[in-house]
Amino acid sequence: MHLDWTALGEVTAVSIGVTIAVVVVFAVGVLGVARHEDTREHSGTSVLGMAQAGLCFLACAAVVAYGICLIVPQFH
């Protein structure tokens, strides 16, 4: 019986790394939205908050697009 420990380690490292990265970036994006909504209540706008949210969600969308590429064999 042959166990491929390298592949197992790779799956572990990549899975944990990607999950944490996506969730952290998304959380930062949500923070941006929250800041924007906060300032809007005090009749202001937070351009910085919106920009932060936009960038983060764009990054997450890119990861999702890559995920779809991996799922659909026609894109390989």
Binding site: V11, T19, V22, V23, A27, V64, G67
Partner: protein, 384 residues
């Protein structure tokens, strides 16, 4: 259609029935946390999941060349053994569904096949090395990896957003969940519908209706996709309740972290050639997400029952598959018909028992436990 004998027709119908149970057993993997957090309405969630499963079935062009990935010797497998194995897998899926336990449909299928092939062709036709390598190791490793990823991600998500407005955070992560849950469904469709297509295609090849190395005909892709999509849409509400409510109370940041962890683990392992069970990955993620939020309660009793179900899934399906195979082997077409009728009767019985305390879209989030008997009415006063 000369080549479609009685046995082959029965195998095709049984494979589609397994595909259907696979669908409603696994809806929970993608959608349980989205339903629990209110990111998606229950019926909308199962509709999205069902459609994406059908889409996934059509997208995948890589033909399953072996039914089992080398776990049993495919050259010795006959349609009768495939039929017996499928019966074992279907019955085990229905029993665990009744109990609301998320067990692996792939393990049920492998178990059924191992049992049937062992009885039909001897223990030499089962590659026990492969069983360890392809089933046992991923079964232990994948939920742990997914759990660790979800735990860390959940912890960080709560740390980062601790000071932000609660409504904004909840709303933001709910929207994110729609995307993450959809990806799990799509990945599921490309994997699991493919298994049934492989089974039907190999049966047709062994019966001479298709040439060797033929791909699945369009009608096989279509029916397999529809069977799993329909099963997904009808929704395994009992299992959705256990995974969404039973293991831990899920909030939207946890749901997002859990689904992201499931997706990445499924995709990275598929990319590197590891076979794993979507069910076990998703359960591991949800447990991890429960542990990652401070003060979140994880119900270890339910988690323990679930782990026990994982342990006995393969042997139980193998036992049923083995018994069915011995009847088919000695009884021929009549034996096959008897097994099919008995299985249909048992399935009908399980559905009848489930109706006593049904779980459906309207009450899926009401409780955290799935019971078979109706709970005692609460308005009855204490007896003096």
């Amino acid at each position: 259609m000369d080549h479609i004998t009685f046995l082959v027709a029965v195998v095709i119908v049984t494979a589609l029935a397994f595909d259907f149970t696979n669908g409603f057993h696994d809806t929970a993997n993608a959608m349980a946390t989205s339903i629990a957090t209110g990111a998606l309405k229950p019926r909308v969630a199962v509709l999205i999941s069902g459609v994406l499963n059908v889409v996934g079935a059509f997208l995948s062009t890589e033909v399953a060349k072996t039914i089992s990935g080398g776990i049993v010797n495919d050259a010795l497998v006959t349609p009768g053994m495939i039929f017996a194995g499928l019966i074992g897998a279907i019955l085990w899926n229905l029993v665990t569904w009744l109990a609301g336990l998320p067990s692996s449909s792939s393990h049920a299928l492998f178990g059924g096949l191992i049992g049937a092939v062992w009885v039909g062709a001897g223990s030499g036709a089962v590659n026990f090395d492969k069983v360890v390598e392809k089933i046992l190791i991923p079964a232990v490793a994948s939920p742990v990896v997914a759990g660790l990823a979800a735990l860390t991600a959940t912890y960080l998500a709560y740390r980062l957003t601790a000071r932000a407005r609660k409504e904004s955070v909840t709303k933001g992560f709910r929207l994110g969940q729609v995307a993450s849950a959809s990806l799990v469904s799509l990945a599921h469709g490309t994997n699991d519908a493919q298994k049934t297509m492989g089974v039907i295609t190999l049966t047709l090849i062994s019966a001479g209706a298709l040439g060797h190395d033929a791909g699945p005909p369009v009608w096989v892709i279509g029916t397999s996709g529809l069977a799993i999509g329909l099963g997904t849409y009808l929704g395994g509400w009992r299992i959705i309740r256990t995974m969404g409510k039973g293991l831990t109370e899920i909030q939207s940041p946890q749901g997002f972290a859990a689904e992201t962890a499931s997706t990445t683990v499924i995709l990275t392992s598929a990319h590197l050639g590891f076979a794993l069970s979507t069910t076990q990955v998703a359960s591991g993620s949800i447990l991890g997400a429960g542990l990652g939020r401070r003060l979140a309660e994880v119900r270890w009793g339910i988690a323990g029952r679930m782990a026990l179900a994982w342990l006995i899934t393969l042997p139980s399906a193998a036992l049923v598959g083995g018994v069915a195979a011995s009847v088919v082997k000695h009884g021929g077409d009549i034996g096959t018909a008897i097994i099919a009728l008995v299985a249909a009767a048992v399935a009908a019985g399980i559905f009848a028992v489930a109706r006593r305390n049904p779980v459906a879209a309207n009450n899926v989030n009401d409780h955290h436990e799935v019971t078979i008997r109706k709970p005692a009415p609460s308005h009855v006063g204490p007896v003096a």
